[in-house]
């Protein structure tokens, strides 16, 4: 397919070749032979199985490829590409193939002494390149060959890619951009230790980076700046050879019109490495030394590099930053040194002045530094003065004088201080007699017989008052002493006089530009100008003139402009030349149409549009010099106003104009008002914004608080759960109410029990009494001695009858039963107590707990509601905050409740303790009772023993009791 299209292209060239071969057939019989050889060689490369055969064939093709590039290219290209793919491992054959392709595609005409070159189509190489890149894979193939370290492959590959880029740069750049590692592979060439590859790599990169911002950025990203600056330094900076030049060309490619890379260059502090380039050696400064052509080239490129960074056409912010950096690293100082050095070639000096101009332009700090630079003359003079001397010296080269003007302009650009310094040197008060000042030089230039000097001086002076009303008025004070005996004449008048005398074209153009700027926006200057009766008639005569060549037309046009300015800034103070007077004169003597027509001649001129393009004079010949850049700005700004000012201008219309003006002013004031309102609203907006962000912050805080609260609730829940768990566990917990009931029950039981115990005691008392009675009867029976004291341990004499003893025994039995009963009761009471405890354990706290949980969930609900509301609207903040407060309060209440609950529990526990205590007390009472009973029992026994001793029969069933009471007996 590829081959077919190739051949179809071939047929297009065939007639040419045939004609050639026909005419030369006698001289070159072998031409056709070589052509058929190409075919045979291609055959061999394709069909031969031996690598060596193929290699020889490719080598042969290579040797033919220069002379018969058309034939080799059209027949062998596909074959050679497939060699690159299949024989990749043999560096030799790959090298030959790549070289052959290069020969085919490079457009170098093949020259041999005995043979005139064949007439081949000029774009043959380009066409072969197009064929080659039809398959983008071929470029990838070449990029992969770049990775091959072998010199025989890498070097020709570099050359082939360079050739391709020269032929079809844009297309290949696009292909390389889609290959991620493509650029870095080419960047790696700069690190190749073999200089020839590094140097050819440079040439490749120069082609690669031509007008493709994206590739330029990638190359910069791959550390190109550092590598290139390193190479330049290694090669000896400006003293280095062509490699330095190539590096600089590549640097310029990377930086020109690429603000991102410029920013990277500045941010990477690479500007700091530039001052070294401008270090002058003693040999450079000797007048007979002479600079090598290479050095001149290198320095030129280095200066261009600096200018690229500080270009007035770049983004202002970046230009300012670079200007500052250039000053800070001492580069400006180095450049100023070159300005003042001797032995510097004129073109280098000129370019250095241009560079300094752009480094200081509009940058106050740099302008101040420049003003302080002194030339090493005797006595030392400011550099500015020395430069101005060259500007008004007609023997100096024209381009140098242009450069000085550019430098002077740049020094004054946006520099009110500098302007006043220059103007002050013209004023009588400060002018010193013995030193040469800038003002003197400018005045001298202004009235020089050399029209260029006048033009330069006029433009320079124009920049000294540009856009500076104060200095315009100051300049009015300047008086000139013309010749002895005559009264001094003002500078302004002198300019008008020279103008009227019909000086050379450039002189007049220069002066008219100066006067236009001087009079614009300065009614005092207009008055001064009008006060000389000759001036207006002169201007009228110029504008109304009908004859004259193209250049005269320009002068007439500028005169019309000046006339217009006289109307525009007329303060109506000079009689006969007020606005309406001038308007009348124009209408009568010139006619409005002709006036307008004349006025617009300026902007139609080619030189005008050329000057408008950029600040620096873009002029090769002295005769072309006409307009200044800043003047074109002034003209553009005022031309319409001038036309309006002279347009059908009766006074009424003037009135109307005034009314319009007033309306306009009103309008403006309204606009101003609105602006004020907008400003106010803006500030309000800002305040509101601030408030909003504050609110947002608060909202955030609230959210975190809500989250915190959520966490606390969780904690509370956890505590609750823990409490529940504890309650079901070992620690008895009871609700206050239930507990209270059971406690009262318990207390009641206890009371009852105590009562019973009391009854018991009473009965014991009764028993004692009966016993005493019985004893009494017994003793009265035996001895008649009765011991009334029951507790008396002294053994009373027992005496009594059996009857009463039996009675006693019964009663005792009865007592014993009662004691048993008490024991039972006590047991049941203990049981009750236990039950009570159990009840307490299984407790009915749940109700309270339930309500508590409910409240918690209620609280949770409230919280979620609050959250939702928060989310819904930021401006519901306050409401949300209130809710939050409520939530916090509820939380506090909840916490309090929990505290209370805990307190209650503690109280309950205390009560329980008390209950327990009273229970133990009851038990103790019981025990006491038992002891008492035991004592009684023992007494009974002693009584019984006594009875026995007394000879009474005692029933056996009491013996058991005896045994029971033995211990007590022992104690007794």
């Amino acid at each position: 397919m590829e081959l077919v299209s190739l051949l179809s292209r071939m047929s297009f060239y065939l007639p040419i070749r045939h004609r050639q071969s026909c005419t030369r057939v006698a001289v070159l019989p072998s031409s056709d032979f070589f052509i058929s050889t190409v075919e045979r060689l291609c055959d061999r490369v394709q069909s031969s199985t031996l690598l060596e055969d193929r290699r020889d064939a490719v080598r042969a093709l290579k040797s033919l490829s220069k002379k018969y590039c058309l034939e080799v290219g059209s027949q062998a290209m596909e074959i050679l590409i497939s060699v690159l793919q299949t024989d990749r491992n043999d560096t030799e054959i790959v090298g030959y193939a790549v070289e052959t392709l290069t020969n085919v595609m490079c457009n170098e005409p093949y020259e041999e002494e005995d043979e005139p070159p064949r007439a081949l189509p000029e774009d043959l190489g380009i066409q072969f390149t197009e064929m080659f890149i039809k398959d983008p894979e071929n470029i990838s193939l070449l990029l992969s060959l770049l990775e091959e370290y072998d010199f025989h492959v890498r070097w020709p590959t570099v050359k082939l890619i360079t050739t391709l880029l020269i032929n079809k740069g844009k297309a290949i750049q696009e292909i390389i951009l889609t290959s991620p590692m493509g650029v870095s592979k080419m960047m790696d060439l700069l690190s190749d230790s073999r200089e020839i590859i590094r140097n050819d790599g440079l040439l490749l990169l120069i082609q690669l980076t031509r007008s493709n911002t994206n590739i330029q950025k990638i190359v910069a990203f791959e550390n190109a700046f550092e590598r290139l600056l390193d190479i330049i330094a290694e090669e000896g900076n400006s003293n280095g050879g062509i490699v330095v030049e190539d590096c600089l060309l590549l640097l310029l490619n990377l930086l020109k019109n690429n603000s991102s890379n410029q920013n990277f260059f500045k941010e990477g502090s690479f500007i700091n490495r530039l001052p070294a380039y401008f270090e002058l050696e003693p040999a450079d400064q000797s007048p007979q030394g002479g600079w090598s052509a290479q050095k001149v080239t290198n320095i030129h490129l280095m200066l261009q590099l600096v200018r690229t960074l500080v270009s007035p056409n770049g983004p202002q912010q970046q230009t300012m930053a670079c200007q500052k950096a250039v000053f800070q690293c001492g580069l400006l100082e180095k450049l100023c040194n070159i300005l003042m050095a001797s032995g510097v070639p004129a073109d280098v000096l000129t370019e250095t002045i241009n560079t300094v101009s752009e480094v200081i332009r509009g940058n106050q700090g740099n302008q101040e530094y420049f003003a302080s630079v002194l030339a090493p003359s005797n006595p030392p003079r400011p550099a500015i003065v020395v430069l101005l001397m060259s500007m008004v010296n007609e023997k100096q080269p024209f381009v140098l004088r242009c450069a000085v003007l550019y430098c002077f302009e740049s020094f004054l650009y946006k520099n009110e201080l500098g302007q006043s310094q220059i103007i002050s040197t013209l004023l009588p008060t400060t002018a010193e007699v013995n030193t040469i000042t800038a003002g003197q030089l400018l005045c001298g230039g202004l009235f020089s017989s050399d029209p260029l000097s006048t033009w330069f001086a006029a433009v320079a002076l124009m920049h000294a008052v540009f856009d500076n009303a104060k200095q315009k008025e100051q300049l009015l004070r300047v008086q000139l002493a013309t010749s002895l005996g005559n009264p001094p004449v003002s500078l302004l008048q002198q300019c008008s006089n020279i103008l009227a005398q019909g000086a050379k074209l450039q002189t007049r153009v220069g002066l008219l530009m100066l006067l236009s700027e001087w009079l614009s926006n300065c009614p005092a200057a207009v008055n001064h100008f009008l006060s000389n009766n000759a001036n207006i008639p002169f201007l009228i005569s110029q504008v109304s003139a009908s004859e004259g060549d193209e250049m005269e037309l320009i002068v007439q046009s500028l005169c019309a402009f000046l006339l217009g300015i006289c109307i525009l800034y007329n303060s109506e103070q000079v009689e006969g030349f007020a606005k309406h007077d001038l308007r009348n004169i124009i209408e009568k003597r010139i006619g409005l149409e002709q006036f307008t027509d004349k006025l617009l001649q300026v902007s139609k001129h080619e030189a005008y549009s050329r000057a408008a393009k950029k600040p620096q004079l873009n002029i090769q010949q002295t005769s072309d010099i006409l307009f200044d850049h800043q003047f074109t700005k002034l003209f553009k700004q005022l031309e319409n106003e001038v036309i309006r000012a002279i347009s059908p201008g009766s006074d009424e219309e003037n009135e109307a104009e005034k009314k319009k003006q007033v309306a306009l002013e009103q309008h403006e004031s309204i606009v101003e008002q609105y602006k004020g309102i907008i400003r106010e609203q803006d500030s309000q907006l800002n305040i509101v914004r601030g408030e909003l962000s504050e609110l947002q912050n608060k909202h955030k805080e609230c959210n975190t608080k809500v989250e915190e609260l959520g966490r606390q609730i969780q904690q509370l829940k956890d505590q609750n759960a823990l409490l529940k768990a504890q309650r079901t566990g070992s620690i008895p917990v009871s609700s206050p109410k239930e507990n209270g009931i059971s406690v009262t029950q318990l207390t009641m039981d206890l009371d009852a029990k105590t009562l019973q115990v009391k009854e018991n005691e009473q009965e014991i008392e009764k028993l004692k009494a009966e016993l005493t009675k019985a004893l009494g009867t017994a003793s009265s029976h035996d001895h008649g001695q009765v011991n009334a004291m029951v507790n008396d341990s002294s053994s009373p004499n027992m005496s009594g009858d059996q009857f009463s003893v039996e009675d006693l025994n019964r009663k005792l039995e009865c007592k014993e039963e009662e004691v048993k009963l008490y024991k039972n009761k006590y047991e049941s009471m203990s049981k009750q107590l236990v039950q009570l405890r159990e009840q307490m354990t299984s407790g009915d706290l749940q109700e309270d707990k339930h309500s508590l949980t409910q409240r918690v969930s209620e609280l949770e609900f409230n919280l979620t509601a609050a959250e939702i509301e928060k989310k819904r609207a930021v401006d519901n903040e306050i409401c949300a905050q209130d809710k939050l407060k409520a939530v916090i309060e509820e939380k506090a209440a909840l916490e309090e409740k929990v505290k209370k609950f805990e307190k209650d529990m503690a109280e309950l526990e205390i009560e329980l303790e008390e209950v327990k205590a009273s229970a133990t007390e009851g038990k103790k009472d019981q025990e006491d009772l038992l002891i008492l009973l035991a004592e009684h029992e023992s007494k009974l026994k002693t009584y019984r023993d006594r009875l026995k001793e007394l000879g009474e029969k005692v029933e056996d069933d009491l013996d058991d009791d005896d045994d029971d009471l033995d211990g007590d007996d022992d104690e007794d």
Partner: protein
């Protein structure tokens, strides 16, 4: 201005997620609501301090559009850090992260530190991607994660600085070969002076490997 280290970053992610605004906020501390589409790649730089050391960040802000994707790929290899940005109000920008990440992993050095950034956190009301989702994605792919707002500057400093901290840590751990500039790391001129022994010994190592 001298520095101890220089790190190269790239910012990647879909178009309109706020990459250029993040860079502008970081370098100039301002927000530009209306920003032109980035064409190709733009450069920005700033100095930061980590561990008492001055570190210069050089940042390449890439164009998010598909048509610039191949250009962007050229920047992966030489970068030490990448900020992968999506827009929390646009789920599709989050869905495309996998593609971006594959691209980055394929073309970068394996040590490149990637910070995942969910930008526009100020537009909470329009949020379309949950923070948790971003966190999960980052966890899954071993990235650092942060939500930022180039508009309010929230977390913007942190995003750039935390990435630098991670790179710095990797240097301390010896993961990065700091003498290979292809990693996007450079030792400052002043710093290399303080460690002459180290740099010369490693230089020797390089030479010997070159011989082999």
């Amino acid at each position: 201005m001298s520095y101890a280290y220089l790190f190269k970053y790239i910012i990647i992610g879909d178009t309109g997620v706020g990459k250029s605004c993040l860079l502008l906020q970081f370098t100039d501390k301002r927000f530009q609501p209306v920003h032109d589409l980035t064409i190709g790649v733009e450069f920005g730089a700033r100095m930061i301090t980590i561990d008492g050391k001055q570190i210069k960040l050089q940042i390449w802000d890439t164009a998010g559009q598909e048509s610039f994707r191949s250009i962007t790929r050229s920047y992966y290899r030489g970068a030490a850090g990448a900020l992968l940005v999506y827009d929390i109000t646009r789920r599709d920008t989050f869905n495309h992260l996998t593609t971006w990440l594959e691209d980055a992993r394929q073309h970068s050095s394996s040590n490149m530190v990637i910070m995942l950034i969910g930008n526009k956190s100020d537009l909470e009301a329009r949020r379309d991607v949950k923070k948790e989702e971003g966190e999960a994605f980052a966890r899954e792919h071993g990235l650092i994660f942060m939500e930022t707002s180039a508009k309010t500057a929230a977390n913007v400093e942190e995003a750039f600085i935390n990435t630098a901290k991670e790179i710095y840590q990797k240097i301390q751990d010896g993961v990065f070969d700091i003498n290979n500039e292809a990693n996007g790391i450079k030792i400052g001129p002043q710093h290399s002076l303080t460690n002459p022994g180290m740099s010369s010994s490693s230089g020797g190592g390089n030479q010997s490997s070159g011989c082999c």
